[in-house]
Amino acid sequence: MKVKVRLFGTLRKKFSDHDPLNGFEVEIPKKDASVNDLIDQLDIPKSKIGPVSVQGRLVKADKTLKQGDYIRIYRPIFGG
């Protein structure tokens, strides 16, 4: 399936085709893939990931994705 992914903060740095404001499209070969599978596929360490939303709603990492989902992945936060 194809999903739209936006990475926030420094997460996007290693993806040259990631548009800072629109993200990029990701093809996930695995059937019934979850947010966790997507993160594994993007090869981002779990420690660098904060909240994840699908269609603007916060989700847990085991949430199953479907074709056309818009996934936003944020960095953990710090400071004040």
Binding site: F8, G9, T10, P20, L21, S47, K48, G50, P51, V52, S53, G56, L58, R72, Y74, R75, P76, I77, F78, G79, G80
Partner: protein, 572 residues
């Protein structure tokens, strides 16, 4: 090590020894203990009995990175309680290099007079006639003072808002580039400076009288370890790339981004004002991201925002201002947010209190949410000194009173910051109980509250919130005493013991992790004591009723921390 005492009534300046009780203190610890000892709690904050104390952190001026933080303390005309407002820039390092532990400004100049305090390269202070500078905005003021006194000074000053004695008035100070864009914003301390008859403090750079370290080798070793921990932290490149504005997208995502005077927790226009968008706009227009704002900074969270033609608009556009002038007003126009940030710096206003004052006016129906031009006009009115300008310049509480409108998100009459307490219950405890009034830096427990960020607390539950806020408030009181930048707390990743070693290596006395906690506790106790003597009771440690009664979309939660739990925060 000395105090510069300024008697405004006599127009005299003297150097005095630092008495033994203050010798191992700096920053907030020094200002708060001294105010509690020497300022009558019930005094008029804008009268001669109040003192304005300007103190670099205990570790400012040393080789430690990110240690140029200045504490400014007084009785607050906004809250009526004790206040420490903290600011970066260069002045803390400059004062420490002159061997100055604090500047203590007492009394009041006679009506209609205006002074400048100049501290020369030998650390000697002198009051100069400042009447030629009356009424100037800060950028123009700094330009003129540099023409007369040269570039090699840091300048800490007030704008028209401080001169008008308005309680949202800030004290501005110059950054590395010499612009008055750094604000000790909270608590209306600009009005205290204005009430003294003091327009600016000019401090010579390059002093050679820094307090000696008793064990320089140990200090150097620990400072290096600290700097490495800051450099290696994941958050550091994030702050360089996006500044504190990196918080906009995630805090909005979790529904804790107060929107349209805290009627909602998510802003539909957020995409236009995220840190990511801001950084792209700055880059495209030829502005500066990863800008160095403060002395000895290795993080570079600052930026220079420019207009479409590449002309300077403001520095630094930050998370809190993007919120207060953006989402809080229903305004998704980044250019107007930047303009409002500049106006506040230039007029000498706290961006949080001012933005929220405008938000309350809009909520009361004075103008429509989203009308950025109306917001700009309201802020300009402050500088003009109109009656309505004075209401805006006195903060959200004054605006609520004017419109007889009770949706006013203030605690002890000071506006909360950009984390809605209904979506992050731990912030409810900090806002309600800190002696400072609504303040996020006094005990920032956002990370601990968000499971998605590795936190262990349920952010919608009261469970554990009091304890985590208490611990954070104790810790921050000590951090603010040392002069360590909030964002450089990643250096604590190398261990609190490493920081304690630096304190001991300066003072020559042992300083343990227990001493760190004892220090923070002692400061909070003194601040609470002052507030109690100023007639604050546990009823003042509460949030406005909107937070208990109005569910915040999208999670539709209210604050669930009971009064009994709030009152346990400081049961030490």
């Amino acid at each position: 090590m000395k105090f510069i005492k300024v008697d405004m009534a006599a127009a005299s300046v003297s150097s005095t020894e630092v008495s033994s009780e203050y010798v191992e203190l700096g920053g907030r610890g020094l200002t708060s203990l001294m105010i509690n000892n020497d300022v009558p709690a019930k005094c008029d904050p804008l009268g001669p009995e109040n003192k304005l104390i300007i103190a670099p952190g205990y570790l400012s001026g040393t080789m430690l990175v990110n240690s140029s933080r200045l504490s400014i303390g007084a009785k607050s005309p906004l809250t009526g309680g004790i206040k420490e407002s903290n600011v970066g820039g260069t002045v803390a390092a400059d004062l420490a290099h002159l061997g100055i532990t604090a500047i203590v400004i007492e009394g009041q100049a006679s009506a209609g007079t205006c002074f400048l305090l100049k501290i020369d390269a030998n650390g000697n202070g002198e009051l100069l006639d400042g009447s030629a500078y009356t009424g100037l905005r800060t950028y123009e003021l700094v330009k003129k003072l540099k023409e007369t006194h040269g570039d090699k000074n840091s300048i800490t000053c007030i704008g028209p808002a401080g001169e008008f004695l308005l309680t949202a008035a800030s004290i501005q100070t110059t950054d590395v580039d010499g612009r008055p864009c750094r604000a000790a914003g909270r608590g209306g301390l600009g009005a205290v400076m204005g009430s003294k008859g003091l327009k600016a403090v000019i401090v010579a750079k390059g002093g050679k009288a820094t307090d000696p370290l008793t064990d320089p080798n140990t200090f150097k070793e620990s400072a290096k370890i600290y700097a490495k921990a800051v450099k290696d932290d994941d958050g550091t490149p994030e702050l360089a790339e996006l500044g504190s504005a990196s918080l906009v997208a995630p805090i909005n995502a979790v529904g804790a981004f107060p929107t349209r005077n805290a009627r909602e927790g998510q802003f539909e226009g957020v995409e236009k004002i995220t840190g990511e968008t801001m950084a792209e706009v700055i880059k495209k227009r030829g502005g500066i991201n990863a800008h160095m704002g403060c002395a000895q900074c290795i993080i570079r969270c600052s930026n220079e925002f420019v207009d479409e033609d590449g002309n300077y608009v403001t520095s630094s556009l930050e998370y809190e201002t993007i919120w207060s002038m953006g989402a809080m007003l229903g305004n998704s126009d980044l250019d107007s947010i930047a303009k409002l940030d500049f106006l506040c710096d230039d007029i000498g206003l706290d961006t949080i209190s001012t933005g929220v004052a405008v938000a309350v006016a809009m909520d009361a129906g004075y103008k429509a949410f989203g009308d950025a031009q109306a917001a700009i006009e309201m802020v300009e009115e402050v500088a003009k000194g109109t009656e309505f300008g004075k209401i805006i310049g006195n903060g959200p509480g004054a605006v609520g009173e004017h419109f007889n409108h009770d949706r006013v998100p203030v605690i002890k009459n000071q506006s909360m910051a950009a984390y809605d307490p209904r979506a992050i219950q731990g912030m409810a405890v900090t806002y309600a109980t800190t002696p400072m009034g609504g303040d996020h830096t006094a005990g920032w427990v956002v990370g601990e509250n968000l499971e998605e960020f590795g936190g262990t607390l349920d952010r919608f539950s009261a469970e554990g919130q009091v304890e985590v806020s208490r611990n954070s408030q104790i810790h921050m009181a000590a951090v603010d005493t040392m002069g360590i930048c909030d964002f450089a707390q990643s250096g604590f990743g190398a261990g609190l013991a490493n920081v304690c070693k630096m304190v001991a290596a300066k003072s020559s006395k042992p300083f343990s992790e227990e001493d760190w906690t004892e220090l923070g506790t002692r400061i909070l106790k003194a601040e609470r004591e002052f507030n109690r003597n100023a007639d604050f009771t546990s009823k003042d440690d509460r949030l406005p009723k909107m937070f208990y009664e109005e569910p915040l979309p999208p999670h539709n939660k209210v604050v669930v921390i009971s009064n009994e739990e709030m009152d346990k925060t400081f049961d030490f």
